[in-house]
Amino acid sequence: MNRLQMSAADLARAVKNREVSAAENVQASIARIEEVEGRVHALLTPLFDRALEKAAQIDQKVGKGEDPGPLAGVPVIVKDNLCMRGLKTTCGSRMLENWRPPYDASTVRFMEEAGAVILGKANMDEFAMGSSTENSAFFPTLNPWDLDRVPGGSSGGSAASVACGYAPLALGSDTGGSIRQPAAFCGVYGLKPTYGLISRYGLVAFASSLDQVGPFSRSVEDLALVLNVLAKPDPADATSSRRERPDFMTFLGKENLKGLRVGVVSEFEAYPVQPEIKEAMERVQNILREAGARFSCVNLPTTIEAGLPCYYIIAPAEASSNLARYDGVRYGLSVEARNLGDLYMKTRGRGFGAEVKRRILTGTYVLSSGYYDAYYLVALKARTKISREFKEAFQDVDMLLMPTTPTLPFRQGENVEDPIQMYLGDVFTLPVNLASLPGLSLNAGYSKTGLPVGIQLVGPQWGEGTLLAAAEAVERVLGKPACAFGGV
């Protein structure tokens, strides 16, 4: 099999069994990146030299007969809002263009301890705000399946990297759909875990109560494999759950899905989506039914009605506070100024892009005295109600099936002038963040024009295992997602 099509699990096994070296894996990935990156622009900072060094260390370990870890010699791409000590971490922003964090994100550390080799930092919408990676301050990433179209966002660079075969795994972050939507647009798997499953320490915050780190892959087994590495309680993150994590591999290899109760959301069924997405929904439903799952309808009236506005109050509110620290005093961009107020205005004026400014303004507004009760407080109440609504739904079903997005990947520039249209694209993903639930986007085939179509599985809190089992059942029928540009 072509090495670029190989899963992380297979690569790690091969490295451990000395069938290939970590260095060879990394070199193959570098060659692939050099071949394709000029067209796709998925990476902000390649880390090739460092990756080759790390790979050599892994090979030494293998040579000495030491355990190189479950991700031994597996190339990985990391979204550029995860801190890596001494290496540029830009968050896709001029503000942090030359910032080098003094520490590693916990998830980066977990990956490297498991033997993964980080090949580069992936492009993203500035501070993870956006759904197309067009808000990157540096350059847009293009959809590997159609270079006129967007790869989704905000983790567009990570999704495109995995779709192009730069690496079998990438890390992203998801605040309102930023893993699942680009996964759908790029035709790969993307998992947004239950809030608190994976440490946020070292993930540059957008909206702290919604942000989660999660993986992209081209196989379900890889999702389980990398969850086992990432899903650790972390004392450095007070919101990291202390509950014991299962071995996620144990959810795989189920013969069928007998007894699995799957819900479809009536309100979402009625929501206008493109026909290819409706067809994909039916395709996945049939596969799951075939595998033994039973279907029923559930209602989420508040979610469909209030989810979007609720999200676009809470997320900007938290963002306005989280991004206030970029003031030109300690790190990042600092613009020459006459006095303190001038320093703040010039630095923030020049350092942030339009979408980030829009959200900071919105967030500041909804938290201001006189508006707090009318906006933020109401949104918090709506959020509680949405969580309760999901909780009730999950008394009758084990999992929900819904589209990841209402549309196929849109064209570059298509929504740039219309932020509301852009926001509406998050309608199916952001309620999952509001309710702190796990969501998995899988590739359910391609449109006639060759664009990937994503479908989303949503579970109750800590229900990742169910999602993995169902996704595997679909994978058995549809096969693993293909690499764009046909591999090598």
């Binding site: 809002n81 946020r200 450095a236 206030a324 300690r330 938290l367 201001s368």
Partner: protein, 488 residues
Amino acid sequence: MRQPGSPVIGLEIHVQVATESKLFCACSTDYIGAVPNTHVCPVCLGQPGSLPVINGRVVEYAVRTALALGARVGKSTRFHRKNYFYPDLPKAYQISQYDRPLAEGGALPIGEGENRKEIPITRLHLEEDAGKLVHSAADGRLGHSEYSLVDYNRGGVPLMEIVSEPEISTPAEAREYVATLRQLVRYLGVSDGDMEKGSLRVDANVSLTGADGKLGTKVEIKNMNSLRALERALDYEIARQADLIRKGESVRQETRHWDDGNGLTCGTRGKEEAHDYRYFPEPDLPALVLPDGFVEKQRDIMPEMPWILKERFVTDWGLSLQDAAVLTELPGLSRYVEDCVREGADPQRAANWIRTEVLRVLNEKRIGIEDFGVPAENLSPLLVKIDRGELSTTLAKTVFDRMVAEGLTALEALEKIGAPSGRLTGERLRNVIERVLEKESSAVEEIKSGKDPKGKKRGFLCGQIMREARGQADPEEVAKTLSRFLGC
């Protein structure tokens, strides 16, 4: 109803909690005299991606303080973000408590006897300290500075904010309130309470009761760095407001700074900025839920409150109020006197000795009782000897000075001075008695012939024997041995 014109004072006191590490990270709190920006880490510098984790020890200390004040400790409290821009605030928000403080209610007793008064407490909450700005101008003020430097060593140091109800009526009461609170935190060992060093900072809200008996416009006074400064500032401010009212002018609601050198309060020049701190719940920290038994455990290890200790010294030991006040001012001193009494010293004797001799030495050496070289178990035998008449006070002082100078026990010091070492007992005591009886044969005869019904002569003989023994004999043994010699 309050008298028109009478002052109404409420105090907000920030107490630095004396834990070894900061409120939300492991950095040392020992910043005084440290090289700037050396006690910092990604968390207290607010580096992107870093997250706060609450220091449990701080919660313990704060709960102890709350219990000492008789406040209700909240079972589930939470933190909020207080958002504002300033260079000494690295995240551009301070993590503080807002709607659910750690404790509410309670009171602090001040004054003695008829003047005794309980000042009710509104709340006690936790928050993080900010860094420190160092302005380049010669006068250390921002206005004339070419540049300013920031030292973040203090950033993130834990603070307890203790807010009183506006029920303090005079500057003298305010002073006593602060002095008592300072004594309390020192007793509890939760803070060094040093106003000069800034470990205890007082902001005062002052208004004068209007002609209608209602509260007048309140003015906040800051920058009072000693008890004396507090009293002077309040005196000044009350006179200033009274003067305004007398002239028919209105008092402006504002924050004024106490200028200790010139002895006046001055308003912050220019327009008062209306702050909108945009408080909202800190999403990086889950609710602070105290586990079962937490509060009870803190209650169990609380020392006796100084005001209760003082009362006990008066009623149980018969000390004067003044003696009791001096001895309970500092926790170390009261422990010392208690230890002396436990080791057998008479309370009044111990009180006198400590107030005169021990405090004299401490003052001369400028040290605290903790660093005093004569432990209570060494001092106590000396005091017992004085009471037994075995040592004259003059000799005892010589012995004491020797003990202090050379770190000796009482017996060692006595020996060095040349007083007979050890007690006169047995053969040596009998020799002394024989000598005395020979010299005082007339008294012996009178006793033997029954002419000493009241035991006066016998007492005289005992005294002579003790004198001969230079106080180094046990009076009981002397009496017994003497009886044997006399045969009655």
